[in-house]
């Protein structure tokens, strides 16, 4: 990658792809003024105008309380930690990372099951990721000083806070800081502050990643609230918030195709707090809305959202929204939104757990299922009533439109019944001769209609389909079914149920 080193933009990114084409925003270093980072009102003005690279360093250090954080953690000596690390790994120069990985691998092999393994593994993971962090930026060339700094800061942090450790994605944030604050230790303390501040990235990289899920849910809620049509459309396509927003939150929008826009978001986020991440998400979504609405499948929408064209997300586009748009949320409102998101998430997870249980049940082989149903299943009538419980709104679109994760309420899939079970079913009374309907299992809303006894079968699912089928085919007549259908699939009172059961038995006694 080194050969075209001269071809970099003013931020230091290689000019090899479409990112950052054109200069939406240029502020020369001469514009630099003596800004006072401690005055929030003025600071906002400066950010709106745009910060120069040197101003940015000053502003970020001050906003992220580097000095205070260092003073707070007097027990942790960063320099000592790094020299210990270097001794341990026998690092002499910054260019021999590949060798270090080999050394670590050998060490790990020798010390199988040792407790130190975990921290060695973490360090190896960091080493592997360093080459994959801003590979297209000239500050992060292989073997560069900045890669060494990145490695030091991430390794030190993993020892400083063993609970959080190292999480992929952190390197982008540290790298972002390193681009504008060159002192390694200052960046370490800025990063430490970011990860401890509730207004910033507290818990975001925690092992459970629960905070990320919560943030994604919050953004989803805000989109739903402000752009209901788009939100519905995304849902219909099966595009879930987690599919596109994880990178935004964990890498601070550094995957956005305009570095000036990335910096604007970072400036606001570092100085004012986490609500700006949601605002940035909303602004990006709002800019993409029109184009998203004309896409119809997840296969089109997701690649689009994961690599949004420059023209929709450049600094000028986002700036007007980020400073004045009515849908923006402020820090005060955030508590309320966290609560809402938490509630929504716990409900969703509860639903998912139940779905998982149902799925496990369904996953038993059909034969087993069948045996169980016959052995201790509910009575025939209750089965029948179950079958006609109104199905959840049937979606006619393909799973192409739905996407992978099971985020929506879906009708449980229907298991095809093997022939042997089918025969058994007929014997055990799943079959009603007058309608030609065969019922399979109590959890499914399926019925099979035998149009002729040898080879033709027909399937339908759900109450509405069943109803339509019957109204379309006047030849199928059954008082019992008509009643069930007329009731909308509701169960009847015990008295009626008893009567139905009697009718039932009469039906079953008639010859097949």
């Amino acid at each position: 990658m080194g050969e075209e080193k001269s071809e970099v933009d003013r931020h230091g990114f290689m000019l090899d792809d479409e990112c950052c084409n054109g200069s939406c925003f240029i502020l020369s270093e001469d514009a630099s003024s003596n800004i006072d980072p401690s005055d929030p009102a003025k600071l906002r003005g400066y950010i709106k105008r745009g910060l120069t690279a040197s101003e940015r360093g000053i502003v970020w250090q001050s906003a992220l309380n580097a000095k205070e954080t260092k003073n707070k953690h007097k027990d942790f000596n960063y320099k000592e930690c790094i020299s210990r690390l270097n001794d341990e790994l026998q690092i002499s120069s910054v260019t021999d990372y590949k060798d270090i990985i080999v050394t670590i691998n050998d060490k790990l092999k020798d010390s199988e099951g040792n407790e130190d393994n975990e921290s060695l593994k973490t360090i190896r993971q960091i080493l592997m990721d360093i080459d994959r962090t801003y590979p297209n930026h000239n500050l992060f060339d292989s073997g560069s000083e900045n890669q060494a700094k990145l490695f030091h800061i991430l390794s030190a942090y993993s020892q400083f806070d063993a609970d959080i450790g190292y999480c992929q994605g952190m390197a982008y944030v540290v790298g972002l800081l390193l681009m504008y604050i060159s002192d390694e230790e200052t960046v370490f303390w800025c990063f430490t502050y970011l990860l401890s501040s509730k207004d910033h990235l507290h818990m975001v990289y925690h092992r459970t990643l629960n905070k990320v899920k919560l943030m994604s849910e919050l953004l989803t809620f805000l989109i739903e609230k402000n752009y209901p049509q788009l939100s519905r459309h995304l849902k219909d396509m099966g595009v879930h918030g987690l599919m596109y927003s994880v990178q935004w939150f964990m890498c601070l929008f550094t995957n956005i195709n305009c570095w000036d826009a990335v910096l604007l978001i970072a400036d606001l986020f570092f100085t004012e707090g986490i609500h700006h991440l949601f605002n940035a998400g909303l602004a990006v979504i709002q800019n993409c809305a029109a184009e998203l609405m004309v896409l119809s499948t997840i296969g089109e929408a997701l690649p689009f959202l994961q690599n949004i064209p420059y023209r929709l997300v450049h600094r000028g586009q986002l700036k007007s929204l980020l400073f004045s748009h009515p849908v923006l949320i402020n820090a005060k409102a955030l508590d309320k939104y966290w609560e809402i998101a938490e509630k929504r998430l716990s409900e969703e997870e509860k639903g998912a757990r139940e779905k998982h249980k149902r799925r496990q049940k369904r996953l038993r082989s059909p034969d087993d299922n069948d045996k169980q149903d016959i052995a201790n299943g509910p009575t025939f009538f209750s089965r029948l009533a179950n079958f006609f419980t109104p199905a959840k709104k049937q979606k006619t679109d393909e799973s192409e439109h739905r996407g992978m994760p099971d985020t929506e309420n879906q009708t449980p899939p229907v298991l095809p019944l093997p022939l042997s079970s089918f025969k058994k079913s007929i014997k055990s009374g799943y079959y009603t001769p007058d309608t030609g309907l065969v019922y399979t299992s109590p959890n499914t809303i399926e019925m099979k209609r035998i149009t002729d006894s040898t080879s033709r079968g027909m399937l339908t699912s759900g109450y509405s389909e069943a109803k339509k089928l019957f109204s379309d085919s006047p030849s199928i007549q059954s008082p019992l079914l008509n009643n069930v259908l007329a009731s909308g699939g509701e169960r009847r009172s015990p008295r009626i149920a008893r009567r139905r059961r009697r009718e039932q038995q009469n039906l079953l006694q008639s010859p097949l």
């Binding site: 296969g299 992978m404 899939p413 095809p416 093997p418 065969v438 027909m458 399937l459």
Partner: protein, 219 residues
Amino acid sequence: MARATDKKYDHLFQLLLCGDSSVGKTCLISRFADNEFRHTHINTIGIDFKLKLFTIRDKKIRMQIWDTAGQERYETLTAQYYRKAQGIILVYDITREETFRNVTKWLRNIEDHGVKGVKIILIGNKVDLESERKISTRHGQKLANQHNIKFFETSAWKDINVTEAFTELAEQILAKVESGGGRDRGSSSIRESAIKLHEQQPTPATKSHGGCCSGGSSN
């Protein structure tokens, strides 16, 4: 049967790649979907997504390929994607023993989160680094045999065996779908055909639910 007439493809398959960090999952996808290899690429955070249109036996297959982050803590975000994958590509790096040892862990994950009977193939990637090889082909094959899955050794960089591996998986899924054994996917085609059936004229049951009621149903 009739369901694909208005679409540009006959089947939609959902594939998922998993395996330890840095074994080359993203590179394998880039090689297969775009026929490119980048020495410098960024690591996958959360989940990534690629599409590939692909033809097997005159059937147009649209593949949605999901790429997952390899670091352990991301499993909590990626688990839900296992659920709908019809095929899973499990990758290890032949130059790193640990990634091979973890294959069993990943197989357990698939068992926990994936659908029953999901098609799996095992890939030992980076055969271009033969001199650094730690896991012999025989070992890989043996593990695959134990779990009754197909095994490939590939190189995303030198483009060795990549298409073959994806094709094999697609073939397996296609065979399953066509035989009607694809339970989850099969069932969704049943739902589809059911809807079609009542919308249009009652036609004989489609191929996609062979083996179910009414004896063979293939008309």
